[in-house]
Symmetry: C3
Subunit: 160 residues, 3 copies
């Protein structure tokens, strides 16, 4: 007899540091409670999963502009409130360090260790001109249909 696992899905639409932290704390919490967890990264949320080095790609002009303007990975994200030209994120990172809270890159690593399914929205990647080589390793690539498949099996479905 198999017991069905609980499921949790999160759409991470936002590219804000504070919202990404909240998403990964909920995802890691749910995984620790043995839920099967999916995070579906779409629009600005994809920036959370970018590598922080520049990756050489062959792109059109507009896609290059998006690439330059959007933050490269979890260390470069701003805050949704009180960003204050980058001082806000520094303050948040400082208090997180002081309280021994996991940083966003550590939360991402923990999610991967716990088997959280990290799915990049292929439609948005096309639109923003993001290529697989620019995202961290171990991502899955799918569209909204795959997200809905997981969400329909889940009780906790959040859009962040």
């Amino acid at each position: 007899m198999t017991v069905e696992k609980e499921r949790t899905t999160i759409v991470l639409f936002s590219g804000d540091l504070d919202k990404a932290i909240a998403a990964f704390i909920i995802a890691n919490g749910a995984a620790a409670y043995d839920h099967e967890v999916t995070i579906f990264f779409t629009f600005w949320g994809l920036n959370t999963m970018r590598k922080d080095e520049v990756v050489k790609t062959d792109k059109g002009m507009l896609e290059k502009m998006f690439g330059w303007m959007m933050p490269r990975g979890p260390r470069k994200l701003g805050l949704s409130k009180m960003n204050m030209a980058g001082m806000g994120p520094k303050m948040i990172k400082h208090v997180m360090k002081k309280h021994n809270a996991l940083t966003l890159p550590q939360l991402i690593e923990l999610a991967q260790e716990q088997g959280v399914k990290l799915v990049a929205c292929t439609m948005t990647m096309d639109l923003l001109g993001l290529q697989k080589e620019e995202l961290i390793d171990g991502m899955e690539y799918a569209g909204v249909a795959a997200y809905l498949g997981d969400a329909t099996e889940a009780k906790v479905n959040l859009f962040i």
Copy 2:
């Protein structure tokens, strides 16, 4: 024997172009999977459903001010990030066109064709002084109780 249809509900609170696109892509995806889908438009989300012409109405001063300041329909919405005084929405629309992605007005039309229930929050309409004639045809009008009735039957409930 009837099989119960899956249900999906979305509260569209935001009046940002990118969030409205995400909401309608998820709604249309769910409808394509034969879910019964409700989008409940509240606060700034109502602007998504405004007609783009000026509609003559009889309003108080404050309601007129809200009417002037808020964007008139899906073609006028800004982005939640990188709006850059309107250049961001232009860029997004340009790449969407290039990739043959449906525009927001087309996504709205598709949702109507697929029978997605589009519900305007009457309480917010009162507050912002929006009148039925100002919204596109085919909307339903209801309050939070109707939304909760649908959401309680659904597994995928998102607030966008």
Copy 3:
């Protein structure tokens, strides 16, 4: 035989007046339909529950700065859109009064009367240096595990 009550949970992450109003309207609506309702206040959402007087506390410099910069309670929150240096919130409060809509402080009071469980995220309180004495009376204090416990029992789970 006991009938299980429906459950609804809301994560209130945002510290915007309009989003807090939406959260409490949904919460009060669900409570009126006899749902067990939990609002989990995290990050900027905690500001909604701050007392509006200055509370004397013993804090580090950075925590004091967060305390000064963040709004003190529901009367001080700004809008997510059209804040216009405080004119937006004044306009919204004016139209709400005109339409006899409940103010945010009244919505909070109603939620407490209806037995909505108001839970402050202890991890964020640590990070932002918020202390129990600074929040309104009658709150519960817990972490993400408690939230997930409630959310797993609920069908309507929103992140606002």
